[in-house]
Each structure stands twice: as structure tokens, then as C-alpha cells.
């Protein structure tokens, strides 16, 4: 807990604060765990003051109770299910991505994780008319790629996607859609956390601007950020994984945004594939979907839900990934 500062409450004057410091009571926790009478005796502070300081501190650092009904009304007012743009994946996730929840997509290299993320971002922009914050850690986000996922793109000749001709053709629609997707490229965990902090503070204060109206946050991908700092003598990395999970979860809940994160699949000790970042991260996402290539077709992908609060696990579906022949 925080440090004790003078004038945190009325009774905590400069003099009292110095007395407490002399008794080695520096933080709120130090204060709370000590016996009130003992504090009053050793620091020569009036018992009345000690009790009043204690009461104010407790009130400041506690949370408020909510009834189930209040929670339910809150949820219903901010409820949103965002479509991923892939019909069978939506069905698998019981409607799509839920606001307030984290969905993780884990797959091997070149299994199409980034494609799904872009499809989601474009769908959220076109179908739901909401903004997306796309945090790219592996340098794979490009404006060109988002074009392929625009609805109606598959009906046009492929050659029209390249170059300004396409922008002329669909001018306004394309511009409007693409300006709803904001991309930040980050390369280490600290910049990722400060980017998330920026988004959440502007969402909470409702200042609008670039981050206003954000309904989907995509982090592609988390493993790339942590691999350089995991292992060896670096003890902080586990704490940072934990912190990222906590920050994403509280952001999702407080600002009622949906989070889509991608993770890598690598071979574990016994040779079977498992998502990176281990058990610490495994409890963070609400929903975990594994994706992989399908042996029968080059363009379809296999999705398997392995963790979910809504649907029975594990369930597997096949989905067509090729933008030119969308599923459904």
C-alpha cells in the first residue's frame, strides 16, 4: 500500500507524520498492522487521533459493495458482443468477442493469427462502427493488409486492391473504415504498458480523440514481447506478465472493451504444442482458442476452444480463411 503522507487526513499533521516516521511507520500497511494502543504509546500521539487516522485510511483504501442487481444493470447497459467477421468462429465463441473479456488466440507460426485480428478490427469498424486499438509487437500490421478484409472486397477483381485506384473506387467507405483502426507499434513491455495506460486513461476520462470510442483492443502478440526477457536471471518478467494480465482485465471490465490477444504455440517438453508464457499467463484470458492449419485445405483453419466460461470445451470447427471466399 501507499506511503503515509502528511495531510492524508485531518489528524495526520506534519508533526504526527514525523513522529510516526521516527517509529518506523512509513506506509499505510505499517500503520494498519500495528496495534492502535501501541502506536499511541510509542509515538506519544493522542489515542483519539490514532483511531481517527486509522478509520479514515480504512475508508480511503477500501472498495464499495455492489449488489448483484447493480452489477447486472451495469453489464446490460454496457453489454456488447463484437463479431469476429468469421461466422463459424463467432458461433464457436457463442456470438463473438464479449466486451469486458479477454480472448486469446494461440497458434503456430503462419497459422493465420494476424489475419483473424485484422478481420476482427475491420468487422468492428464496418459492422459495429466502433474504433479499434491495434497494438502490434511483431511488425506485421500494414494498412495494405486491412484492405483485403473489407466486406465486398472478394467480389472485386484482385488487381483493384493495389494502389490508389481502390481508394478511389470505394473512397469514402475505405477511408472511414481504416481511420477507425489505430495502430501502435511497440517493442518492449514498458512501452506496451504505457500505451495501454494511455488508452485506459483517455477512455476513463472520456476525452475522446484518437482513443475515444474504442471497443476492441488487439495485442498481436504477447509472446513476442516477453520472449526476450523470460528466463535467465530476470525475476521481474513474471511480475510483468502478471501485471499485463491484470491491466488488460481491469481495462476490459472498467471501460467495457473487448480484448483480443494472440499467443504463440511452441513445442513443450513432451513434444506436444502448448501456448507460450506458461501457467502464469494461462489463467489470464477468459477464453482461449487454439488455431492451426487444416491438413485438407490450404485456405481453411481449425479453431479449438480449450478454455471458456460459456461453451463446452473442447470444441473444434473448421473455417474458411481466404478473404475472397468468406465463410457463411
Amino acid at each position: 500500500m501507499s506511503a503515509l503522507r502528511p495531510w492524508m487526513c485531518k489528524a495526520l499533521t506534519d508533526k504526527v507524520w514525523l513522529l510516526l516516521r521516527d517509529a518506523n511507520i512509513n506506509t499505510v500497511i505499517d500503520f494498519v498492522v500495528r496495534d492502535r494502543e501501541e502506536i499511541a504509546r510509542t509515538c506519544c500521539i493522542a489515542y483519539k487521533d490514532v483511531v481517527s487516522i486509522g478509520r479514515v485510511l480504512m475508508a480511503q483504501f477500501s472498495t464499495f459493495p455492489l449488489t448483484g442487481l447493480q452489477l447486472y444493470t451495469n453489464i446490460m447497459s454496457s453489454h456488447a458482443i463484437l463479431s469476429t467477421g468469421i461466422a463459424s468462429l463467432d458461433e464457436l465463441l457463442d456470438g463473438g468477442l464479449y466486451a469486458g473479456e479477454l480472448c486469446e488466440l494461440a497458434g503456430e507460426a503462419a497459422s493465420g493469427k494476424t489475419q483473424v485480428c485484422m478481420r476482427c478490427a475491420v468487422t468492428v469498424a464496418t459492422v459495429h462502427a466502433q474504433n479499434t486499438m491495434y497494438i502490434d509487437t511483431c511488425g506485421s500490421f500494414a494498412g495494405q493488409n486491412t484492405l483485403q478484409h473489407l466486406p465486398g472486397a472478394h467480389t472485386q477483381e484482385k488487381t483493384t486492391f493495389n494502389g490508389p485506384f481502390f481508394v478511389l473506387l470505394f473512397g469514402e467507405m475505405v477511408e472511414e473504415t481504416l481511420s477507425k483502426i489505430n495502430c501502435v507499434k511497440v517493442h518492449d513491455i514498458y512501452t506496451l504498458l504505457s500505451a495501454l495506460d494511455d488508452v485506459s486513461s483517455s477512455l476513463k476520462t472520456r476525452t475522446g480523440g484518437q482513443h475515444g470510442n474504442v471497443k476492441l483492443i488487439v495485442v498481436d502478440c504477447v509472446a513476442a514481447i516477453f520472449s526476450p526477457i523470460l528466463g535467465g536471471q530476470q525475476m521481474d518478467s513474471l511480475a510483468l506478465i502478471e501485471h499485463l494480465g491484470r491491466q488488460l482485465k481491469s481495462m476490459a471490465a472498467d471501460c467495457s472493451v473487448a480484448c483480443l490477444i494472440t499467443n504463440n504455440l511452441t513445442s513443450g517438453v513432451e513434444g506436444e504444442c502448448q501456448p507460450c508464457l506458461g501457467k502464469v499467463w494461462a489463467h489470464v484470458p477468459h477464453t482461449r482458442v487454439l488455431m492451426g492449419r487444416d491438413s485438407c485445405s490450404d485456405t481453411s483453419r481449425k479453431f479449438t476452444v480449450v478454455k471458456s466460461v460459456r461453451v463446452k470445451t473442447p470444441v473444434t470447427v473448421l473455417a474458411e480463411m481466404n478473404p475472397e471466399y468468406p465463410a457463411g
Binding site: 500497511i29 503462419a110 500490421f141 494498412g143 483485403q148 517493442h187 512501452t191 521481474d236
Partner: protein, 401 residues
């Protein structure tokens, strides 16, 4: 020195999320400074006294937290990115089909990995790209320079001169056929002058070079491509004495077994191997991150080559050839191109790409560099098809059956 500025002062952001030294952060948190709000209106001198850290450290903390000297992170919309991309040139390979697969050539701002068995043409491809980075802007090229990091010692400058000469000739022919295009003094010498060559002998030199590239690229703003040939070599051969390594490992294993039997312990021996692997992985992935950062910050292309290795799988599949350095590395690059032999012809397969579908195309290596495969009937006479005997690359034959 001012206190933490007002704009960030009320943030509940935890100090854990700032890049502070662990020792200093531990002292701060035991003194009760956990969030940015706790540092509100605290002067550096006061902070140094209360947390018991040096005044310089306290100044540094306040500086990091208030984000001084750091430009705010730019967030760009997909539309802005698209507009920028359309103005960026790509680096052609001179094999039209391969360029088509890659979307006009090797893309700037991305990391492209070229994997392939020995002798299939990885180095030739790299040299071609390093040369092609110099194609003048008037002809739709990048008109830039190249950084070539060689770990295998396979950069043969005579071969580079050949390819550069052929490229210069080709460009002059193109400029002559088009009206009012003047590419001026574009010769083999100017091309070679624009290739900056680094020779790295082990993984430490490679790591150091890649980390120092930021300053190098700032000094040479015309650099458009960074080639690393190959990324795998130093990591697969970083131990001078392989028998020494084996000896160390087995003696370690022996003492583990001894420990285990004497003290009833379970020691997992593969953990040793794993530990070495994780450190290698950390180095590799941090290198991948710096490559991506270079690519995005300076609008240039990064090209890496990787070797192939055999993966044995239990069960019916037997073994298969796959890129070295494992799966975690496989995630690191944006584009992965696999070169292989089939029916004594060179094939290039786009295996991973965020923007283009998987495709396989044919290519060939001539005296002049990488070219399309031209069927005998349509073979034009200005393409030098026949070797004059001194060129080793032309006579390269598939070494794998």
C-alpha cells in the same frame, strides 16, 4: 529539477511498469512509493532521503516517470499507414514471379526470412537484394544503400561485382528505352560503394553489431535494406569445441545422476539443455525485436537467412526438413520465404506472410543474378544464359538428391 508533472501526477499507474532498476524499485516500494500518484509533489531530494537512494538515482526516477526526453508514442490509423505504404518502394529480386508473390518485392518496414538448404541460393538472393536496393528512384527502385552482415564468410565480392554490373547494364537499358529518364552515373562502382559490409564471427559480435545498427543507420539515412546472412550460423556453431561441450554436458549429467541416486532427488537432465536454449532464445528474440524496430523506425527492409534442419518426429511421419532455430524463432519474422530444390529446379515458397497467400514459384540464378525461369523457346538473347567457365554460381548444381 521539477517534480512529477501535473499531467501524469494523478495516474494510478504502478512503478513496476516503468523501466527502473530492480534494486531502486525495491527501495521505493518498501518506502511506500508504489504508484505515480505516490510520487506526486515529491522533490528528488525528498525522495532520495525517504527511500534511501542516491540523489542521482532519485533524479533519474523522477525523469523516467515524468517521461522527460521521450517523445510520446505515435499511434497511426490504418488509413495513414496505407498512405505511407503506397509511397514506399519495395526492393525487387529481378525474378518477376517471385516479386509478384512477395507483393512487388521485399517490403520495407518488414522482416523477411529466407530459409533454404545449402546451395539453393540464399546468399545469391541476399547479394541480389543488397545490389537492388540501389536501383535509382527514377526507375521505381529504392535508390538507397545496403547493410550486409555476413556471419558465414560467403560474401564473395567478385560475385557482387558481377551482379552489380549486370544490374547497372539492365538499368541503363531501361533508362534508354524510356524517354527523358536520366539515371546519370549509375555504375558498378557506385553500387558497391553503397553496400556496407560487416563480418561477424560469432553470436556476440552479431548481437553487438545489430544493437549498434541504430546509430549507423542514423548516420547513413539512405540505407534501405539490412541483410543478415545467416542468422542461424553463429547460433548453431557458437561452441568452438563441440566435444568440450558434450563433455561438459555429460559430466553435468553424471553429477546429476550421482546427486539423484545419493540424495533421492529427481533431476531433470533436459533442463540443462533447456536452460541454454532459453538464453539463446532470449538473445534471438531480442534481436528480432531490434530488427523490427529498425525496420519500422527507419523505413527499411530487413532480410535474414536461416538454415534448414531435420526434425525427427516419433510415429509414422519419420523426419522432415524445416527451418532451424526452432518454433519461437519462427514467430519472430513477418515474412518467411523457403527456397528448395525440386526436379533439379530452384523453387521459392512463400510460407508466411500477413498480406499474401502461400504460393510457390520457380527462379534461377544466372551470371547476372536472380532471374525468372524462361522456357527455351522464348529465351531472349540479351540474357546471358551460358557460363563462361569462371563463374562458380552458374554451374551450381543441386547438392541434395
Amino acid at each position: 529539477m521539477a517534480c512529477v508533472s501535473a499531467s501524469v501526477a494523478h495516474s494510478q499507474r504502478e512503478l513496476l511498469t516503468f523501466p527502473l532498476a530492480p534494486a531502486i524499485r525495491a527501495k521505493l516500494s518498501s518506502a511506500g512509493f508504489l504508484t505515480v500518484a505516490d510520487l506526486n509533489n515529491v522533490k528528488p531530494s525528498q525522495l532520495s532521503k525517504e527511500a534511501g537512494i542516491a540523489l542521482e538515482d532519485a533524479l533519474e526516477v523522477v525523469k523516467i516517470i515524468s517521461g522527460e526526453g521521450k517523445t510520446p508514442m505515435p499511434s497511426q490509423s490504418a488509413l495513414e499507414l496505407l498512405e505511407q505504404e503506397q509511397n514506399l518502394p519495395s526492393i525487387v529480386t529481378f525474378c518477376a514471379k517471385l516479386d509478384g508473390v512477395l507483393g512487388g518485392g521485399v517490403t520495407l518496414r518488414q522482416v523477411t526470412e529466407i530459409c533454404g538448404a545449402p546451395g539453393v541460393g540464399k546468399t545469391q538472393m541476399c547479394i541480389q537484394l543488397a545490389v537492388d536496393a540501389s536501383i535509382p528512384e527514377e526507375l521505381g527502385g529504392a535508390g538507397g544503400e545496403a547493410v550486409y552482415i555476413d556471419t558465414e564468410g560467403s560474401f564473395i565480392v567478385e560475385r557482387v561485382a558481377d551482379i552489380a554490373m549486370a544490374t547497372a547494364d539492365h538499368c541503363h537499358r531501361m533508362a534508354a528505352s524510356a524517354d527523358d529518364v536520366d539515371i546519370g552515373n549509375y555504375t558498378m562502382e557506385t553500387i558497391l560503394a553503397g553496400i556496407h559490409y560487416f563480418r561477424c564471427h560469432d553470436h556476440i559480435e552479431l548481437l553487438a553489431t545489430i544493437h549498434l545498427l541504430t546509430t549507423f543507420v542514423q548516420k547513413h539515412p539512405k540505407v534501405r535494406v539490412i541483410v543478415v546472412d545467416s542468422i542461424a550460423f553463429p547460433f548453431r556453431h557458437n561452441f568452438d569445441d563441440l566435444s568440450m561441450r558434450t563433455r561438459l554436458l555429460t559430466s553435468m549429467a553424471q553429477s546429476c545422476i550421482q546427486l539423484a541416486t545419493n540424495f533421492d532427488l529427481a533431476v531433470s537432465v533436459c533442463a540443462w539443455e533447456m536452460m541454454m536454449m532459453t538464453i539463446m532464445m532470449m538473445i534471438l528474440t531480442s534481436m528480432a525485436q531490434s530488427c523490427i524496430q529498425l525496420a519500422t523506425n527507419f523505413d527499411l527492409a530487413v532480410v535474414l537467412t536461416n538454415q534448414m534442419t531435420t526434425r525427427f518426429t516419433l510415429g509414422s511421419n519419420g523426419s522432415q526438413l524445416m527451418p532451424a532455430l526452432g518454433e519461437s524463432w519462427g514467430h519472430a519474422c513477418t515474412v518467411r520465404l523457403i527456397l528448395f530444390w525440386e526436379n533439379s529446379q530452384r523453387h521459392a515458397m512463400l510460407y508466411k506472410s500477413p498480406s499474401h497467400r502461400e504460393t510457390t514459384v520457380l527462379y534461377q540464378i544466372t551470371t547476372g543474378g536472380i532471374r525468372d525461369v524462361i522456357s527455351r523457346k522464348t529465351c531472349s538473347d540479351h540474357e546471358p544464359q551460358e557460363a563462361d567457365g569462371t563463374e562458380s554460381a552458374v554451374t551450381k548444381r543441386p547438392r541434395l538428391a
